[in-house]
Symmetry: C2
Subunit: 589 residues, 2 copies
């Protein structure tokens, strides 16, 4: 591809870069150095006759070192080397007319390109798409693909936010993946990180005031969304979002950790972003969504703008996860201390924030605000996600640590929840691979700091060094790859069948996706560990204990079993459920 | 008073203090040291038989030094010494039945206790209240009175936020001042500073996590409104607000610089405060208001909660001030660069934020958001306030730097504006006293730093050291005191008469206080420097130039002059206005 570009074109190319405080900016190519002209709003520009798609280039600000383009579309040799000109109009799309399903009917599947397949590339992922279609997934969500330093990593250390990571493939192959999804009816979401940049290969500050000295994030300097020159910084991030949606045909973005975007502006960055994406949606005629990861339990993110909100489409609900995780695992350390009762899980079916103003033991303060009158579709529910697995000492999946029967119950509670369900890669077959934290920066010192930091962090919770996967060891990365051969095993294929049945049931019964939280009723017993959830004509009965149980039946309930995780479930005047089982009752169809 | 307390009472007193991380807390009085018991939510308590009103005391945390009570009701010997027990129920109020006027009909008068009178005390201020009543003022606003280090200062360096500054008087004399206001029909607002604490005498951090390491303010550590233990910190500040309103009968609070209260919580501190004050209002049966000073141009502060706002009652409008100040003074440096045209001033009559999303040259970014559909009563307008005078090198008033005729025009534009007008002490007679920045910390090194910081700051704008008033020189404080004898001079008393006429007109004509910005129309000419504002049946015509002008008259306008700043104004087919003059036309009454 690259060679083709280099030989076939001899077009004029205009280089442009924002550097509002620079005295002098130039672009360097193999043909020489070209002085750029200052234009308005801090932009510099020059047209170079010898440049075109494929041309390698870098910028030089005020006579400093060569630096890659902050908006580089591709970094074939990593974040420290020269950028490459890309012509996005060259790709031949075959997805005309594709529209993503609404979030209200979505089943999202989170995957990480590097570990989803053995090869760990965009192209290799295409081969596994039919499995997702077969499963019933509607939306694929890619963990961040922006260029980061090193040959492996989760992607949250991205530094060239407009460039796909070169170890995953080139811009064309990412487009091929999106195109292949669309051809199969799958929408594609992309995880983007706008709250900080990675620690290695970030040259943005040499170009302009991208960072704030007034706010901080746990991962480094906060982005300047509200200080002097923040209009230009906002353009950078908004244009990044628009680029992925427009040039790569993504159907939406997942916004990483928006609680770390501290912004006191009257029109916050996230609201501006939502407005601009709305405008792009109208222009392109394609449904686009923005989904936030947020630790704030603040409904303002997804409320309408007329009621003072930012009107993002949805946000992750960690409270639902934590309520489910603690009931299934019995874990209570760290932030799980705030959860653990079956009654928390029952409550989580009726309100997406368990902490909606209540005092949190873990946070040592009140937390959250009631998300009054918002439909359930504004929230995502999941039993696993990359963080909830990978941010454990051993990166072990919940479903692997618990009984398979209980994992089936967990899957059912997610897929029959009122929220938009999300799965993490391999969960559908109870994959044996962990998803451990791995990095491999070009800088050995930085790798050492990450390794030791992780040992210290988990050491404080009583883990011994040998129990903590070394994030910088290549084996940690290899171990985290999915083993697709597992799908052939009976136990694994039974689990896949269970997921398919659940997704199919969710699709069939309107009450399961109506989003109307106010219609849901629940009962539970924390002693005996059972949970009943009524969703319109559907009753979900779960035995979360190690003993068989008789659960109360309401006379008006149907006795017809739509789906059950075990064969020996019996329903008549009472419901008799074996240990760790779940049944869904509903009218005969 | 103090002696009376000490001798007359021998009641049991319960000491209480919040110190959530302490291992051990005790209270020290003249009678000895008493160990406190840990109770819930980080509170420590002990009942001491020998203590009662008048008892001097201090706390000792984990065996450290004696420290004053963070909630000390009085510090008779300054912020480093022992606190004194106060029984708020002892004061004999005679203001039963008093209710503050609504903000929509208010004229606010900002004053600084230390310089309002020669004596600079609460008691001395009482003697001047009749002048304010005569002027037509409805609300007195006291600059901060909380205990700060030193014998003089503006009050924004408060450290004992529950104690009135001992150089102004004791708790009883502050209550006497409020009571005396109420007896005269004047409401009283208090300026409170919740965004930081002063640099000297602040011992809060020894008691608990009052400060945040994640946010910063220009004046020091930010208050911890959203981190661990922030519930207790919020209680401290909410209880402070409730205390002034309940125990001192204040009718409202002015919240200093709320833009420096960085708080990412789903229920922000300011919203919680507004709710708690609303509850107190219901409980006391008295009208209470919260008014924010904000640099954010964010209508969320005053919007209703159902539309996502915090529902404060009003906020200061610096944009109106700057638009007026620059037109009257011709100044363009610093933040005045964003203003200056007569058309800005015309616009300011129709929208309280001139920057409602527009790019600001001074801020180097877009700023603000449209305050759509909010009534004008949510915003305060002023020609002077303590900051806009005192934060100048020489602390000189605008009205003293310009022609008296022009000062009359400025006063009219404020008092006939749709917003809640506010005056600064002495403005009504064009007082000759400046209002300079003054401090006198107990710490010589700190004084030196303030003095040099101010020289450096203004030096950058080209001021020579001798032009910059030394904030630590006592003469600077003395110079800033009002000279009430000036009122006897003819020029000064004419100015007072003008203010009285304007206030009286504002009270008489409903259209002037209807708050309906959408009904206002304005025209202007930046070349010839005139401004016309239509407010229902009223037309305001201002000649802001040094030449006599003929202004266009609309045929439907009344030709009756309700008020004019100069005698030789003539209205017929055209309006002929002398240089620097203003006329108000309206129906004959």
């Amino acid at each position: 591809m690259e060679q083709f570009h280099r030989l076939s074109r001899n077009a004029m190319h205009t280089f442009a870069v924002w550097s509002p405080k620079a005295e002098q900016v130039s672009v360097v190519t193999d043909e020489g150095e070209f002085s750029m002209q200052r234009e308005d709003r801090g932009w510099w520009r020059v047209a170079v006759a010898s440049a075109g798609p494929g041309t390698r280039y870098a910028f030089r600000v005020d006579g400093g070192s060569e630096r890659p383009d902050p908006r580089s579309p591709f970094q074939p040799d990593g974040p420290h080397a020269r950028s490459r000109v890309v012509d996005h109009s060259e790709f031949r799309w075959t997805d005309a007319g594709f529209q993503a399903k609404p979030l209200s009917s979505a089943v999202i599947y989170e995957l990480h390109i590097g570990t989803f397949t053995e090869a760990g590339t965009f192209h290799a992922a295409i081969e596994r798409l039919d499995h997702l279609v077969d499963l019933g997934v509607t939306h694929v969500e890619l963990m961040p693909v922006a260029e980061f330093d090193g040959d492996r990593g989760w992607g949250y250390d991205g530094v060239d936010l407009f460039a796909p990571h070169h170890h995953y493939g080139d811009p064309g192959s990412l487009k091929s993946l999106v195109n292949a999804c669309h051809e199969r009816g799958l929408a594609v979401l992309l995880d983007v990180v706008y709250n900080h940049l990675g620690p290695s290969g970030n040259y943005l500050r040499e170009f302009g005031p991208y960072f704030s000295d007034r706010h901080h994030t746990p991962w480094g300097e906060a982005v300047n969304f509200d200080g002097p020159y923040s209009d230009g910084v906002r353009r950078f991030f908004c244009d990044n979002a628009l680029m992925w949606l427009r040039d790569y045909h993504f159907d939406g973005l997942r916004l990483d950790a928006v609680h770390a975007i501290v912004d006191t502006s009257a029109i916050p960055f996230l609201e501006q972003l939502a407005l601009e994406v709305e405008q792009l949606q109208a222009h392109l005629g394609r449904h686009l969504v923005l989904i936030a990861e947020s630790d704030l339990n603040d409904p303002r993110l997804v409320r309408s703008r007329e009621s003072g909100g930012m009107e993002l489409d949805a946000q992750w609900s960690d409270d639902f996860h934590h309520a489910l995780h603690t009931v299934l695992s019995g874990e209570t350390s760290g932030y799980y201390a705030d959860f653990g009762a079956v009654s928390d899980l029952a409550k989580a079916f009726q309100q997406p924030f368990l902490y909606a103003g209540e005092a949190s033991q873990f946070r040592r303060r009140r937390h959250g605000r009631p998300p009054t009158e918002l439909p359930a579709h504004r929230f995502l529910a999941y039993m696993h996600n990359h963080d909830q697995i990978g941010n454990r000492a051993a990166g072990d999946r919940l479903a692997s640590g618990i009984d398979a029967d209980l994992a089936m119950v967990g899957a059912a509670l997610v897929l029959l929840s009122p929220y938009v369900p999300m799965l993490f890669q391999g969960e559908e077959w109870r994959a044996s691979s962990p998803f451990q934290y791995f990095v491999n920066f070009g800088d050995a010192e930085l790798n050492r700091a990450v390794r030791e930091g992780r040992r210290r962090e988990f050491g404080e919770f009583g883990w011994r060094p040998e129990q903590i996967a070394d994030p910088t060891d290549e084996a940690t990365f290899q171990r985290s790859k999915l083993k697709w051969s597992e799908l052939d095993g009976a136990e694994h294929s039974q689990m896949v069948a269970w997921y398919k049945q659940l997704i199919e049931l969710r699709r069939r019964i309107p009450a399961l996706t109506d989003g109307r939280l106010e219609l849901i009723e629940s009962e539970c017993d924390d002693e005996r560990r059972w949970l009943l959830v009524e969703r319109g004509p559907i009753a979900i009965l779960a035995n979360l204990s190690e003993q068989p149980l008789e659960l109360p039946m309401k006379p008006e309930w149907p006795t017809h079993v739509l789906l059950a995780s075990k064969p020996d479930i019996r329903i008549d005047a009472a419901a008799r459920l074996p240990a760790n089982s779940i049944a869904v009752l509903g009218p005969e169809e």
